[in-house]
């Protein structure tokens, strides 16, 4: 099944997950961010150039819920960076599923970053490539790759995409 013959209900359920995920980050509700993943998971933020060359280097690479939590603990208590906010815009989700429980989803994203000086910049643009599964009835990311076109990261990346 692809977008056209996917039931409206399933489509809305997947899109609700995509929306809730970015809202969680943009609302700085980051302690809840690991909840969007299954316990065994892979989250990576990888430059498009590496992805296209088949090179595995990612700037963030977490293969467990614990690693996702550690990212947030470090962000809150260890890392030093200027105040900043993200605003994610996501679009064009293409959803594929065979059974209504496992989904292959690709969507576009743009992240605007605003710092204390008030200037909003296009910080990171790319696509999400996801494997979404039903975990105790709830849709979660088993695998989420943010493959970014903006391969030149301005200053640093501390907040997940």
């Amino acid at each position: 099944m692809s977008n056209s013959d996917l039931s409206q209900e399933l489509k809305e359920e997947v899109e609700a997950l995509l929306n809730a995920y970015v809202q969680c980050i943009d609302d700085d509700d980051l302690e809840r961010w690991p909840d969007f993943f299954t316990d065994e998971c892979l989250y990576q933020v990888i430059p498009r150039e590496n992805h296209e060359m088949g090179l595995p280097t990612a700037v963030m690479w977490c293969d467990s819920r614990g690693m996702l939590e550690d990212r947030i603990t470090a962000l809150r208590h260890a890392n030093v960076y200027q105040v900043q906010w993200y605003r994610h815009i996501i679009s064009n989700p293409v959803i594929k599923t065979e059974d209504g429980d496992t989904f292959q989803v690709q969507s576009n994203y743009a992240v605007f970053k605003t710092c204390n000086d008030g200037e909003s910049t296009v910080y990171n643009v790319g696509r999400y490539v996801d494997e979404i599964v039903r975990d105790k009835g709830v849709l979660k990311f088993k695998k989420r790759s943010a493959i970014y076109d903006t391969h030149r990261i301005t200053t640093l990346m501390v907040i997940p995409i």
Binding site: V45, T57, A58, V59, M60, N79, I153, T155
Partner: protein
């Protein structure tokens, strides 16, 4: 012939390199002079690795300073480099970051002048004109119109380039200790596992200082102390070679308990007795892969390269100045061709520690920008570089700025100021 010293390059007298005028970090005049005297001068600049040019015809675009350069592997299997500027009208010839030229030719799109991997001119369309009209003069000699060539050296699979005939042999240029660490980390054939790029709104020399500064490590980068892992009481220090190159090393086995009590009583954020615990300790599991206890080595080969081993991550960091206020930092991560799958996975996992989103390194871009923002109107003021005394050279501890003072000593020699 000595050019007149720009006012921005006036150094305070009798300061033993403990005071650097801020004006050298945001003056266009100084920046242009650096490009001429340092990057185009008698220095070896990192261009890439042989691993990135696996076949005859492979090429890679990069820079020496802010000059665009293409590195190629010729049909004779040798490595060459030339400035990416057509000898005809100055257009950029190679427009890709990397790739392979199947026929070994590099053709400018503007008027299709064609060059070979060495940068020699082979083809000029309509050189003899059309139907007896036009064309180049009959004495036009293609041999006189090669691309601007870069002298290259392939040292243990790492490629360096220089514009100067006066640049010494690469090992002599590095010095004994940098050479030792270079050989240690390039111990066997490497494999590139990816690149990440960071663009920083700061002067490139602030980053050069940063990588020679063991003092900031446990004070700015709080990941390790927050999780109770790294402390300034560990063994290690800085070594200086030929003024401008340095080695910063940490040895895990040499923690000094007497130092630890000093760190505790100093009441800084540095030591927190592990306030937080990592939920997934596998990040730091690591695997021993060298015949010594050195857990971190960061060595810099001025002006363009920093090489690091931080636990099981290995990287070349290329410093590319863009203008007086900005530079790009290109991280090229590698492993060894004989890595086990387990070791390679450990490297990938530990890449979380370093690079633009590195848990223990992301702040370096930030600190550079903090300096750049604050000095804007205060070029006449100087910094204070007196930690660890006023001398230059090697130290066997972290509470020193000796390697930074050495950098400025060497910088002044190179810049002739």
């Amino acid at each position: 012939m000595n050019a007149i010293t720009p006012p921005h390059l006036k150094w305070p007298v009798d300061t033993d390199y403990t005071a650097v005028p801020y004006s050298i970090f945001n003056s266009r005049e100084v920046y242009d002079l650096e490009q001429k005297k340092i990057h185009n001068g008698p220095t070896w600049n990192y261009l890439g690795t042989e691993a990135e040019l696996p076949e005859k015809g492979s090429f890679k675009s990069t820079y020496i300073g802010d000059t665009p350069v293409v590195v190629t592997r010729g049909q004779d299997n040798e490595i060459y480099a030339w400035v990416n500027r057509c000898a005809h009208r100055g257009a950029e010839i190679c427009r890709e970051r990397h790739g392979k030229s199947e026929d070994g030719a590099y053709t400018c799109v503007y008027h299709q002048w064609a060059f070979d991997a060495k940068g020699d001119l082979h083809g000029v369309p309509f050189q003899r004109g059309l139907a007896g009209k036009g064309g180049m003069p009959s004495d036009f000699d293609k041999k006189q119109h090669s691309l601007r060539k870069v002298r290259v050296v392939n040292h243990r699979g790492v490629i360096f380039g220089t514009f100067s005939d006066d640049t010494p042999d690469i090992e002599e240029y590095m010095g004994e200790d940098v050479s030792y660490h270079f050989d240690r980390i390039l111990k066997g054939p490497i494999e590139i596992i990816g690149h990440t790029r960071q663009y920083i709104a700061g002067n490139w020399k602030f980053y050069s200082e940063n990588t020679k500064d063991p003092y900031h490590a446990s004070l700015l980068h709080l990941f390790h102390p927050t999780f109770g892992i790294y402390r300034a009481s560990l063994g290690g220090g800085t070594i200086v070679n030929n003024d401008v190159h340095s080695v910063l090393w940490v040895e895990n086995s040499k923690e000094d308990e007497s130092k630890l009590s000093d760190v505790r009583s100093d009441n800084t954020r540095t030591y927190q007795d592990g306030t937080y615990q990592l939920a997934d300790m596998s990040l730091l599991a690591g695997a021993k892969e060298f015949d010594d206890d050195t857990s971190t080595v960061i060595f810099s080969l001025f002006p363009s390269l920093v090489v690091h081993q931080i636990q099981n991550t290995l990287a070349f960091r290329q410093i590319l100045p863009k203008n007086e206020n900005e530079f790009e930092l290109v991280w090229t991560f590698f492993g060894y061709a004989d890595d086990t799958e387990e070791l390679r996975n450990m490297r990938l996992k530990q890449l979380n520690l370093v690079g633009p989103a590195g848990l223990i390194s992301m702040e370096d871009g930030e600190s550079t920008e903090l300096c750049q923002k604050a000095i804007v109107r205060d070029g006449g003021y100087t910094n204070v570089l007196e930690m660890g005394g006023v001398g230059t050279g090697t130290d066997d501890h972290f509470v020193t700025e000796g390697a930074i003072r050495s950098l400025w000593k060497g910088y002044r020699k190179l810049m002739d100021v």
